[in-house]
Amino acid sequence: MPLLEVANLRAYFHTRNGIVRAVDGVSFSVEKGETLGIVGESGSGKSVTCYSLMGLIPKPPGRIESGTARFDGADLLTMGETELNQIRGKRIAMIFQDPMTSLNPYLRIEEQLIEPLLIHEKMPRAEAVKRAIRALEEVGVPDAARRIRSHPHEFSGGMRQRVMIAMALITQPDLLIADEPTTALDVTVQAQILDLIARLQRERGMAVIWISHDLGVVASFCQRVLVMYAGRVVESGRVEDIFARPLHPYNRALQRSIPALQGKGAELYTIPGLPPDVSKPLPACAFADRCEFAQPECRTDEVVLKEVEPGHASACVRVQRGELKL
């Protein structure tokens, strides 16, 4: 049994300007100890997917319209707040892009680090502080016993992100959800953080969901990848297959448009048009308007994510029918 199994998740936002179908029928699973990458551009629904699992989307206007998310057998989407609180912050932890907005600027790091231990493990304060200092040392904060008395603004961006990671991992979670935690950091600091998470993951057998728009980070860090577009998964598979043999025109176009994979100075491929507005009615395949291979039936035929090669699924009807070799 997978650690987390999400089926047919739909999260809509009911706004004055219409219904925003942010997540529109997403299914995936995460095995124990596995690293799953979710890639997509802004507005593709990658973050909302994970926020929904954690009960973190504002309701209203947000609403979970359908779906299940079984974590160790129990459905996160239907369980009560008390039950969810037993899991959230303890067995599933989350880290965010901007550590400054997720740390309380008024509180010393110490107070923020020991809070989950006091709440979830009912640990005596003195012991919790000791454990917190050890957690800071593990993520490479030098002089942890003294630095734990500092406030967040006294740390650099990279150090703050380390504090966030220490906080997320202090309860030894089974699953870590990371929402672009390195996007705001310099590449050298990003490399340090990636190394750190990979090491902790090896040591503890923790599963990770890594949300990113950076294909480079995903390629170097994840084992399996979901590619999202307009609230749906359009391709999923092992990371090697996603990059070596794209099975969806959107994934292929994305890879052709990044400079790192193209010859120097070559004209970069550009995807025509704009990312779709998910509050408007979309064609059956949301990418059809921008796809160079689209045919009339792409706008009408029902689109389902189907396995095309072993462990490698695509939501492109033309690829599924074997008409299209990308």
Binding site: D186, Q190, G216, A219, S257, Y269, P275
Partner: protein, 330 residues
């Protein structure tokens, strides 16, 4: 060949002051600390480095948006650092800037037409009757349909807004553009459009472009040469592909190896040089070579002597005491 843009030992220092009434100078941030560079006309220079290395400050100093504390900036034979007041204002038609955030750099209350017309008129007397045609031509040049000229910035996407910002910079027919992280705020698929556009404009109009970015793969793609900055100084300078593929300075090596490559097969084989710690503070830089506390090749001499940028093979400049020795050994 006389260079088109030349920086001679440019320094931009900021005083750090304490006290409310009796302000006392307690230190100096050496944001740019002795940069010399020469660009030919039409060249694209990529300026890279981590946050706080001084790359944006250098960009602004070139454009006289920040006064240089020392040194000179010469553009087309004329010293910009010597210009004052009205002279400087009229010279500004020659050089323009493109900023990172097209949401912040456009006036939300002005239509595209107003924004571009204002820029055109700022430096050239153009009869009002000619303006619509000029605006339309500018919009076409950056790939925007002229029929959108009555729209406001909020009606455009991020990529389109960046096109408007580029059109505004081009309105005065500049010879030099400094673009500070022009694609960092954009989605991957939109980044490609803007990179293609800037490359095309530079090629077609002979524009000299200083492209500031923290994204090395973008810079490698668009730039002719790359300058790598660390703590206010250029520590490596050379042809873009060469610097990226065979970096000579230990810092550049670490920087390049930290960039994740979107190719799982190559990623598995790669040796990463992970730097320890954060960049040091420019308020209190280390002695000698500023990189020595984080450098895996540092020797005793590196603590004492700050190396100068030196050409160690044709077209490759490096500021490292051990550069020749390390190059021979690799």
């Amino acid at each position: 060949m006389t260079p088109f843009l030349e920086l001679r030992d440019v320094k931009t220092h900021f005083p750090v002051e304490h006290g409310l009434v009796f302000r006392k100078r307690v230190g100096t941030v050496r944001a740019v600390d002795g940069v010399s560079l020469a660009l030919r006309q039409g060249e694209i220079l990529g300026l890279v480095g981590e946050s706080g290395c001084g790359k944006s400050t250098l960009g602004r100093t070139i454009l006289q948006l920040l006064p240089a504390s020392e040194g000179t900036v010469v553009l087309g034979g004329r010293s910009l650092t010597a210009l004052r007041g009205a002279e400087l204002r009229s010279a500004r038609a020659d050089f323009q800037m493109i900023f990172q955030d097209p949401y912040a750099s456009l006036n939300p209350r002005m239509t595209v037409f107003d924004t571009l017309a204002e820029a055109i008129r700022a430096h050239h007397a153009v009869p009002a009757g000619e303006l619509p045609a000029r605006v339309a031509a500018l919009m076409e040049k950056v790939g925007l349909a002229p029929r959108y000229q009555r729209k406001y910035p909020h009606e455009f996407s991020g990529g389109q807004r960046q096109r408007i910002a580029i059109a505004r910079a081009l309105a005065v027919e500049p010879k030099l553009i400094v673009a500070d992280e022009p694609v960092s705020a954009l989605d991957v698929s939109i980044q490609a459009q803007i990179i293609n556009l800037l490359a095309k404009l530079s090629r077609e109009m002979g524009l000299t472009l200083v492209f500031i970015s923290h994204d090395l793969s973008v810079v490698r793609h668009i730039a002719d040469r790359i300058a790598v900055m660390y703590l206010g100084k250029i520590i490596e300078l050379g042809p873009a592909a060469a610097v990226f593929d065979h970096p000579l300075h230990p810092y550049t090596q670490a920087l390049v190896s930290a960039v994740p490559v979107p190719d799982p097969a190559r990623e598995k084989l790669r040796q990463r040089v992970v730097l320890a710690g954060d960049p040091p503070s420019p308020l209190n830089p280390p002695s000698g070579c500023a990189f020595h506390p984080r450098c895996r090749f540092a020797v005793e001499a590196c603590k004492a002597t700050g190396p100068a940028l030196e050409e160690i093979s044709p077209g490759r400049d490096v500021a490292c005491l051990r550069a020749r020795e390390l190059q021979a050994g690799s």
